[in-house]
Subunit: 340 residues, 2 copies
DNA sequence: TTCAGGAGTGTTACCGTTCCCAAACGCGGC
DNA sequence: GCCGCGTTTGGGAACGGTAACACTCCTGAA
């Protein structure tokens, strides 16, 4: 009943194969100087004993845990969750396990605590899903022996390598799409003012308008959620001159769509709406939402690649950190049309 | 430039405090038999050296990594992502770090591989976000020295402790709500046939109808997404007798709402719609969705508690595993009304 | 006064790897 | 036949903690 499970260790394998534990270690680490025959004998022994190396012991001596830490925020939402997914996916194929440390708010202290927790567990590197600068700043305060990468935030040219979406271009794409349809100008329902991503989208939108010589309507930055979009949508719906709205994300767009609908303003016949993100079901909003797609999972994968590269070249510590920018893509669906 | 960082170890602390390393260890582990004054001296030394214990060494000897493993599937979606969040939250306060191993599909092999990966990293226990039996079965094949808990799946009374939503009750709640409003019967847009959660919701719905003596319309189980809801919604929209639809989740409901809208059938005046899950923005669908709320994060937290309890009592190995069921709650919004 | 027993502390072994270094071996060239 | 050198192998010593045990005090009861 009581299951005896004498876990095999290196010594057992060595004994069975008739070699020293050191040779077993060499086979494990693919050291070249092992005779082919010996190697096979060892591998056989490992197989028959169902041996697996004790990673704790290995970590103790090598100081490498083959674990990566993720600092996450609001990972219940589609974007961050997808980044996490992408990171894990890439990490797995690279032979790393992923540990997560979530922070409830984006202040520096919780971030430092998270870093600390991950450090204790000897992670080899950290990826921060870091929409706000406080996180990157926290990262910078982290001990320099840890490799860090920030993903998904905005592109301040800080000392932390970054992978990010080109939010400005995305916003420009959306705005230009609406202008090209013939709209005189484009209103914007912005994200929170203290989020760099929101700021970049505002900048891209404003830039596109100005280039086209269009009037730049005022904005009232609030929140990322549907409620915020609904409230601002009600305001916009009352204004007859509004014919095109660019929303800082799809959730906001959902709220705007509902507000317009309730006010009796038809989309896209009377008002065109564009979102940002391309969430899984945005294509089933009423009407299907034209939006700017970010490939979150790809963002995650890229950040992992960057981290690994960074870890592999410890020399260029002083070199300027890499900043990878991924360009988003406009997905045209049914929520945009030419004005009447 | 080259930052010297002579990381302090226990020996250094001991030397500085003028005690043996063992005493430092005792302070660290809150062993009672340490004089107050000595303890303070040691704590001071730890502070001034910025000492942190090496978890790898600790793990090596205690065989406890203070890390928990999560096996996740489709964690980009709100439900699983929220469970993960809840788990991490509870794990953190309990002093555990959380490592994740995602599986791309719910077959047994990938699950076993994930377990293996987590085992190598010496996790103390595993929580599987396990919507399908293949996962729990995989868990059962795992070595018995690992504590496992499954969360979020259906409640087959297997040997693995489980935390789950009472899907049948949730479905009953939704169906009875519609019947109470005066609908003759309730149609159901089901989830995938091979998902136990979908089956349970079907069972609850059918049960409520039968108890009320209402006719049980046919179902066409498909997928969990909005597209699936849209397609089936089109079919239902054509049928004039349909006045109430219970959807297996909110995403399906989104698709159904759109199909009804496009067919010119007004919600809730002509057709009532109920969802399941209560996703973040379901309250901003058109109209705001009446739905059955699951508290995913709570589910996650409960599963962690269960796992820790399970780990703390190694005696009742043979005892019947615990099964915790959380009852969902009906949230009435604007998508349901009495039939005309 | 003596001795049991507990509190407080130190000594030593051990966890399972990898790293450093030395030994044994094979082989070609003188 | 001997030497030098590269390949293959093994024997320790780390790595940084915890566990087991021994030892010294000190207290209180016999």
């Amino acid at each position: 009943m009581a299951s005896k499970k004498p876990v095999a260790v290196m010594r057992d394998v060595a004994k069975l194969a008739g070699v020293s534990h050191q040779t077993v270690s060499r086979v494990l680490n693919e050291h070249p100087n092992v005779r082919q025959e010996t190697r096979e004998r060892v591998l056989e022994a490992m197989e028959s004993l169902d041996y697996r190396r004790n990673l704790a012991a290995r970590t103790l001596v090598t100081r490498q845990s083959h674990t990566l830490g993720i600092i996450g925020f609001e990972t219940t939402l589609f974007g961050p969750a997808s980044m996490l997914y992408g990171i894990e996916d890439a990490a797995r194929t690279a032979g790393y396990l992923v540990s997560i440390a979530m922070v409830r708010n984006l202040d520096r202290r919780p971030v430092l605590e998270a870093v600390d927790r991950l450090r204790q567990h000897a992670v080899d590197g950290i990826i921060a899903i870091a929409p706000k600068p406080a996180v990157t700043n926290g990262l910078l305060q982290a001990p320099s022996d840890l490799y860090c990468v920030a993903v998904g935030g905005a592109g301040e040219a800080g000392a932390v390598p970054t992978v990010r979406i080109d939010n400005a271009t995305g916003a420009r794409l959306a705005t230009e799409h609406l202008l090209a349809l013939g709209h005189r100008t484009v209103h914007h329902v912005a994200g929170p003012a203290d989020w760099p991503e929101a700021q970049e989208r505002i900048a891209g939108w404003r830039d596109a308008l100005q280039r086209a010589g269009a009037e730049v309507p005022p904005i009232v930055p609030q929140s990322w959620n549907a409620e915020s979009g609904y409230l601002q949508g009600q305001r916009l719906a009352r204004d007859e001159s509004v014919t095109a709205v660019f929303c800082a994300n799809d959730r906001i767009a959902l709220g705007v769509l509902r507000a317009l609908h309730e006010a009796g303003r038809r989309v896209p016949e009377e008002v065109s709406v564009v979102g940002f993100d391309d969430m899984p079901d945005s294509g089933y909003f009423m009407p299907p939402l034209t939006t700017v797609r970010q490939d979150f999972a790809e963002l995650g994968r890229r950040s992992l690649t960057l981290l690994l590269e960074h870890m592999a070249e410890p020399d260029d510590d002083a070199a300027s950190p890499a900043h990878i920018t991924v360009t988003p893509e406009l997905v045209v669906r049914g929520s945009t049309a030419a004005p009447r």
